[in-house]
């Protein structure tokens, strides 16, 4: 049995199925991300895991124990909320100490452990500040310290970085991952930001419509999407029907039979790499500069594909010019939408 195990979890809100017979397993020390669009059920799953929402059916096991009916206060779970939920009337150290006080930890230990946490999240000097006197990033770190100080079995993070600026978010992602590894903390992160999921996770569970549609390492998810939904959600994949694929690359021999195929925009190359690479020629319909990447919308016959190339040349290519590219058959991924 895995460290955290969820079996046949279902939940209905006002007649709407939010979670449908869902199974999920997390190993000790792993950082798993629940990734999906708004309303896919990921936050509900997190709340059920924390005990704040009761499931209709299903079981939750943590560290071998059935905790399905255990109250949140006795579940030994730490949670960081999207809104931080810091206590406005308490200082940084009082916020962090709150959980220890509730668990009746001796005063001397509380002082020591709070100080440790403050140093771990890099908030030394802010101990006596109130939450309103801190920036968003600092508040988030207090929330993290507060949930870690009680040494929970599982840490739950509900879109913890979504309210922060891009730069601060990137720094905090890194810091979060470092701390998680340092403490070997089993962690579940909920996010709708696929870049964030890719950057921090050991494994990603992709959710849609109350189900898990695919799970695997960030690399597996990114390079082998099983369905059109995953392909579109995880990257800017080109999703083509078999007919369209045949139109743009008639010479391509694909072994698998599928109705649709996905091609990552960055797999189109300006030079052939292998002998199998096939040549495609199309007209540039649109060029957008995305910093280090140039994105072309290329019309090959009637089919329009997105192509990302590293932004190397000093002169950008103009709309209307012809561009030749090469595609490796291995990069054409068949999609089987019925397979989750």
């Amino acid at each position: 049995m895995s460290y955290v195990q969820i079996e046949h979890m279902s939940k209905t809100f006002h007649g709407q199925h939010v979670l449908k017979q869902l199974d999920l397993a997390i190993e000790k020390g792993e950082l798993v991300t629940l990734l999906g669009p708004s309303g896919c059920g990921k936050s509900t799953l997190l709340r059920i895991l924390s005990g704040l929402t009761a499931p209709d059916t299903g079981k939750i096991y943590i560290d071998g124990k059935d905790v399905t009916d255990v109250s949140p206060k006795n579940r030994e779970i730490g949670m960081v909320f999207q809104s931080y939920a810091l206590f406005p009337n308490l200082t940084v150290s009082q916020n962090i100490a709150f959980g220890l006080e509730m668990n009746k930890v001796p005063k001397a230990d509380i002082r020591l452990r709070v100080q440790e946490m403050i140093e771990l999240v890099g908030l030394a000097g802010k101990e006596q500040n109130y939450p309103r006197e801190l920036s968003g990033g600092q508040q988030q770190r207090v929330a993290l310290a507060r949930s870690l100080v009680t040494r929970p079995k599982v840490l739950l993070l509900d879109e913890p970085l979504s309210a922060l600026d891009a730069q601060i978010r990137k720094n905090l992602q890194k810091q979060l991952r470092t701390i998680q590894r340092e403490l070997n903390m089993t962690t579940v992160l909920v996010t709708h930001d696929q870049e964030e999921a890719m950057a921090v996770s050991d494994r990603i569970y992709i959710m849609n419509g109350g189900r898990i549609v695919q799970h695997g390492s960030p690399h597996e998810i990114y390079t082998q999407p099983h369905s059109e939904f995953v392909a579109r959600f995880i990257g800017n994949y080109n999703v083509l029907s078999a007919e369209q694929l045949n139109q743009i690359a008639p010479d391509l021999s694909i072994r698998e039979v599928a109705e649709r195929f996905a091609i990552r925009p960055e797999t189109f190359r300006e030079q052939p790499v292998t002998a199998e690479d096939i040549r495609l020629t199309g007209k540039i319909a649109h060029v957008s500069m995305l910093g280090n990447v140039t994105r072309y919308e290329l019309n090959i016959g009637d089919v329009s594909v997105l192509v990302d190339t590293l932004h190397m040349s000093f002169e950008s290519e103009q709309t209307g010019t012809t561009k030749t590219l090469y595609l490796c058959p291995k990069d054409v991924i068949p999609l089987y939408d019925t397979i989750a």
Binding site: L52, K73, M79, S83
Partner: protein, 262 residues
């Protein structure tokens, strides 16, 4: 020369309309004689001395204070946790509560008093307790609105959840986290409630009358005896209300300032 605009003029007229009677009352409470002259013939503090020297006044003031204070405290203790439970855990029930709140306005004081007498007289419960009970219901709108607004501004639900996940019971979370954060809101509502009860006349007059003479009943009885003393009572009442209002303003500003910072 600077021209006086219409807004300033109308403002001045409104202020005059509002404050002229107050100024006249204050002057009358300080006047020796004020019958046939534009301004009082002389100024004196003897009406205040007479008033504050009257043990009946002090007792009436004390009774009003005790009745309003105790009722407000009991109302806060009962209504605030109830509103908290509804707003945080059963928001769907809020519509029902809002209906109750409207109902308290729907019944005129005289009808309520008659109804209360018919229902409760002769069954052994002292009428003063019935009055306090009716007051308590009457305070529902003020305490409900104040508490509800404070809770919504605080995002009380996520704070409760955060506290519970950290090992606090609901009661501990309520006392340690929610109450300190909505205290200024509760205090403002309580002051408002206190001042409303302090000035209440209809119910207490019909239900209890002379058996429990409050400040308003004392004032009513003094009106026929001496206009000067009645004015002195009114001025005393105004001063008390001014203190309460300034406290409300101060606490409201403080909670606003806190929100702006955060």
């Amino acid at each position: 020369m600077k021209r006086i605009g219409l807004p300033s003029l109308s403002f001045a007229l409104v202020m005059l309309y509002l404050f002229l009677p107050v100024a006249a009352t204050v002057l009358y409470s300080l006047a020796t004689e004020w019958n046939s002259t534009v301004l009082p013939e002389g100024l004196t503090l003897k009406w205040f001395a007479e008033l504050y020297g009257d043990p009946r006044f002090l007792q009436a003031f004390g009774r009003s204070f005790v009745l309003s204070f105790l009722t407000t405290v009991v109302a806060v203790v009962i209504i605030v946790p109830a509103v908290f439970s509804i707003v945080v855990y059963a928001p769907r029930m809020e519509k029902l509560v809002q209906l109750f709140v409207m109902l308290t306005y729907a019944v005129p004081g005289v009808i309520m008093a008659v109804g209360l007498i018919r229902t409760y007289s002769g069954n052994g419960i002292p009428m003063i307790v019935i009055t306090a009970g009716a007051y308590l219901v009457g305070l529902l709108p003020y305490l409900y609105q104040g508490t509800r607004n404070s809770l919504l501004a605080l995002h009380a639900r996520s704070l409760m959840e955060a506290a519970e996940l950290l090992g606090a019971s609901r009661w501990q979370a309520f006392v340690r986290i929610i109450v300190p954060n909505i205290m200024s809101g509760i205090f403002v509502s309580a002051l408002l409630s206190f001042s409303i009860l302090f000035g209440e006349f209809v119910l207490i007059n019909i239900l209890v009358g002379g058996r429990y003479e409050t400040l308003q009943l004392y004032l009513y009885n003094k009106l026929s005896a001496s206009g000067h003393v009645a004015s002195a009572i009114t001025v005393t009442y105004f001063v008390l209300m001014a203190i309460i209002t300034s406290l409300i303003v101060r606490f409201t500003r403080r909670s606003f300032a806190r929100k702006e910072v955060s």
